[in-house]
Amino acid sequence: MDTPHQPTDRVTRRGLLVGGLLASGVATLAASARAQDHSGHSVAPAEPAPTSAYDAPPPHLGAHGNMTTVGEVDFEANGFDPSALLTDWDVGTPSIENGRTVRTFEIVAEDKEIEIAPGVMFPAWTYNGRVPGPTLRAKEGDRLRIVFRNFGSHPHSMHFHGIHSARMDGVPGAGLIGPGEEFVYEFDATPFGCHLYHCHALPLKRHMHKGMYGAFIIDPDPALHPEFDASARSRLLGTPENAQWQEMVMVMNAFDTNFDNENEFYAVNSIPNAYGNRPIRIEKSRPVRIYLVNVTEFDPINSFHLHANFFDYYDTGTQLTPTLKTVDLIMQCQAQRGILEFSYARHEPGMYMFHAHQSEFTELGWMGMFDVVEA
């Protein structure tokens, strides 16, 4: 088995170089310090400096000004674009068997070097060559058939958060397959909600943070929920009610690029600041629904905070009434997920930020902007 990236201790732990300043050197500094003008440090440049930390940022930098990653990711080379990924539903290939809808999904696991931040290459393990993997979407009660082929260099599986038999669980001995092998997972789409799937090969942490996860959305069948018919219809992809909504999937994830069990980059849908650099267009007259999934490794929780607005939250999406009403921040532990619903109908158009409210995550890339427009 290869170990694709093994920085040595020397490489990763080079900090503290300055810690041991020359003792005797330091000593005389007393005298020298007095010779210096230490009247106070001011950020305002005495002469035109190239940039100042507090200047209003140029529009393309979003509200974070100088505090952001530099450059752009080559989405074409990566093979996926975070803006397109928001609404890229994979509904499989539907067919009818015995009067029942069967959806067949084809998923391959493959090793792929992806640019997870501008200029930073990461040796990812992917589903269908992208991180997060395809957003699988089905209707409650559909029969799902997922043909999974492992073209990667390690054993992999697809472990669905849903209801299925032990044989279909995607754990060692039940659908975990070696390189070059194939397995077909088959089960009913239930319960409706916002779920996820991920590789359950061991070590789990490594297989997760290398990129093996994706959203798994089951829309409610309105026929089964007559008392919440309108809500169920609005959730069901393909209905006119659903078309009114501006739906998107956001997978909160992170990358540990130096493999020290701490993340260097945080984002939704993999690319730090992607939606800050290219804000998500929102028509203010139409409501917004976000399928939010947290797959961040190493940090126990992640969060979502919406600026200048409040939302209703459906934890795990398995209810048609909100579990939290009128909040502007929710948190999710690892593998927790839910649905956010909100509207900008009464707002003035403009840029509205969203981000994790762990400042560290935000400042390491997990932030984005809604460009709310009149429409």
Partner: protein, 406 residues
């Protein structure tokens, strides 16, 4: 006879050239083959390139934080992103583009740093490896303006020249000293120098560890010390063992090199923002350096007793007092200047290594001088004044150094 002898060397000269050329040609052929055939290819296991970065300089000013880095990777390296205190920041790389092995570049971040607090700069390369550098105490980096050179020179004079001048004041007292007193003083000098030698060597090796791997800092320090020692010994013994004024100048040179290295280190620490670590240290350092200065101050004393004639004590010329003071003290000023413009730790290490070599030479020569003085006296040269002098020298340096060590 000459007909047969003369061509023979010519013939053997060509043969010699051929014998030298042959292995060189084989070497060239071997290199060409290794490059062309790449027989080591089989060892390529797909591992990512080895990456190494050394932070050589940090500048904090109105436009933010800048660090001078030196790449030491097996392949050219690219800094893809920069974190300061766990946040990504816009930055510029100058010069732009990948960093060849051994190349340096400035990374500048418009970061609103906070006076007196700590910051961490973390560079993320294109492979995702990270290299962290801590700014222990953020203070504005002194700018190398003409206005700054003067205060630094004053500091250098305080550190380097003033103690020497104070030491000079012992000269009258020593002029007519007895053999026992002179033995004590010479042994004291050796003790002081021995402490400096040990201290400097470790200081140099510490700095060597901080410098980029490609400088092989530790080997560089040892070799520089050895080379300096041999060169100075060679020069000094060109015409017999040095004595008198010449010996005095060698001692001054050794201390001067030490002060230069120390000046570099002070300047570097200054630039790195450690200036605020405690004003009380200034006094301790002054005391410590006066001890050093005493050695130099005694030099005219050595000179006077050293100028051979047993009875006549030559009075050294006045200019020698000034010259000795400058040779021993002024390098501290230059060291301060260079150090605050702050070259990488490898240069401070090199300067300290050279200084260690120079001090070793002085120890050898002063010891030799002491031995010569005792030759033929029939007494054990390790007399009580000499032993106590040596121990007192080491102990005094140790105690005063304790004040300035952090």
């Amino acid at each position: 006879m000459s007909d047969t002898v003369v061509p023979a060397p010519r013939h053997s000269t060509w043969r010699l050239v051929a014998w030298i050329a042959l292995p060189l040609l084989v070497l060239a052929a071997a290199i060409a083959w290794i490059v062309a055939a790449d027989p080591l290819r089989g060892f390529n296991n797909g591992a990512p390139p080895v990456e190494a970065i050394t932070f050589e300089r940090t500048v904090l000013d109105d436009s933010g934080i800048s660090v001078l880095i030196r790449a030491g990777g097996s392949e050219p390296m690219t800094i893809a992103q920069v974190q300061v205190d766990d946040a990504y920041w816009q930055f510029t790389t100058d010069p732009a583009g990948p960093l060849q092995r051994g190349a340096t570049a400035w990374i500048s971040v418009p970061y609103p740093w906070v006076l007196g607090e700590a910051h961490r700069v973390n560079l993320v390369t294109n492979t995702g490896a990270t290299f962290e550098h801590e700014v222990a105490v953020a203070v504005p980096t002194p700018v190398a303006t003409p206005g700054m050179l003067l205060p630094q020179a004053i500091v250098g004079l305080i550190v380097g020249v003033l103690p020497v001048a104070i030491g000079l004041m012992f000269y009258p007292a020593l002029r007519n000293a007895s053999r026992g007193v002179m033995d004590f003083v010479l042994a004291l000098t050796i003790g002081l120098l021995a402490f400096l030698l040990v201290d400097m060597t470790f200081e140099a090796l510490e700095l060597a560890v901080e410098s980029a791997a490609l400088f092989q800092g530790q080997a560089m320090v040892i070799l520089a010390a050895l080379a300096t020692f041999l060169i100075l010994m060679g020069i000094g013994r060109r015409s017999g063992t040095p004595a008198g004024l010449a010996l005095a100048f060698y001692i001054a040179l050794g201390i001067g090199l030490h002060n230069f290295g120390e000046g570099l280190a002070i300047g570097a620490a200054f630039a790195a923002g450690s200036a605020g670590l405690g004003t009380f240290l200034g006094l301790g350092f002054a005391i410590h350096n006066v001890t050093e200065g005493i050695i130099v101050g005694l030099l005219p004393g050595y000179a006077s007793i050293g100028i051979a004639a047993p009875i006549v004590k030559a009075r050294p010329p006045l200019w020698s007092f000034v010259a000795l003071t400058l040779v021993a003290g002024a390098p501290a000023v230059f060291g301060m200047w260079l150090g605050s413009l702050s070259y990488g730790p490898q240069w401070s290490a090199l300067a300290l290594g050279i200084g260690a070599g120079a001090i070793a030479q002085v120890i050898v020569e002063v010891t030799a001088y002491l031995l010569r003085q005792h030759r033929g006296t029939g007494k054990a040269w390790l007399s009580p004044p000499i032993v106590t002098g040596f121990l007192a020298g080491v102990a005094f340096m140790y105690v005063t150094a304790a004040v300035v060590k952090i």
